[in-house]
Symmetry: C2
Subunit: 141 residues, 2 copies
Amino acid sequence: MDTDLTLSSLRDEGHRITRVREEMVKFFVESSKPLSFGDVMRALEEAGLFVNKTTVYRELKFLLEYGYIAEVYLYPRKVYYELSDLRHHHHLVCEKCGKIDNIINCLVDRLERDVLKRKGFKIKRHTLEFYGLCSDCLERD
Amino acid sequence: MDTDLTLSSLRDEGHRITRVREEMVKFFVESSKPLSFGDVMRALEEAGLFVNKTTVYRELKFLLEYGYIAEVYLYPRKVYYELSDLRHHHHLVCEKCGKIDNIINCLVDRLERDVLKRKGFKIKRHTLEFYGLCSDCLERD
DNA sequence: TAACTAATGCAATTCTGTTGCATTTTAATT
DNA sequence: AATTAAAATGCAACAGAATTGCATTAGTTA
């Protein structure tokens, strides 16, 4: 059950609204793409907030723990964060410039053609990973 | 163009065969699942080879650079390595015990049912990421 | 076996992310 | 507005993963 990331829902759940939190919420809500730690740092600086990295890490952890954002692991070995209440979707990662775009439909077999036609993105490779419970763990529950 | 990972193909391409390389090749060829750095270290130790971590990191890098193995990034924030000439496949990662299994068919829409029936694995979540060239980079080529 | 180059070990270093602790800020209460 | 308790912050130190520099050792070819 993911919660909407808004200042009022944060307040409603008893969390404090600080300058940093306020700005970070804004970035995530306004961004259509996953943000890295560095992206967030940079955005804060551009907003005139020169906060310590510890604070940003802690704030990301806070938003993660309360389910407001989710982690996304993308090549090459990079962690991103995005709103967790987004509609189920996947990412288009450009291997040249690193730009990230979202994609909502995910019928894998049709995708290569469709994505090229609709987004102009040429899929070269994709990863699809499943997480859940293996038969052993399912039995032991 | 991936190259087969065998001692003779390594030799053919002018690479030396060391004890460590020999063992690591064996692990990758014999393993049906992705191996982490730690898995490799442990396997080497079990084979009586007490090598420095630097050597293992360098050997993984070597095998990666020459395209013999590929990296796989899996939750939670972990890097694995597997033969790169494997048939296109995906992974089943148990969120409880961490066990990893491979899956070859990838028709996403049928998967949840099929995987549960065939592998007894209950999919709770999956990630599907695409890598390639965005329209901008495609034009600039 | 000699000689060249690649591979190795070790220590030091970088990079990412975390922790402990003293201080400041938020927001509820008086 | 002043008080207070808890949460947030900054800073420095730390932890862990991975990398680098350099001296030494081992693999391969002639």
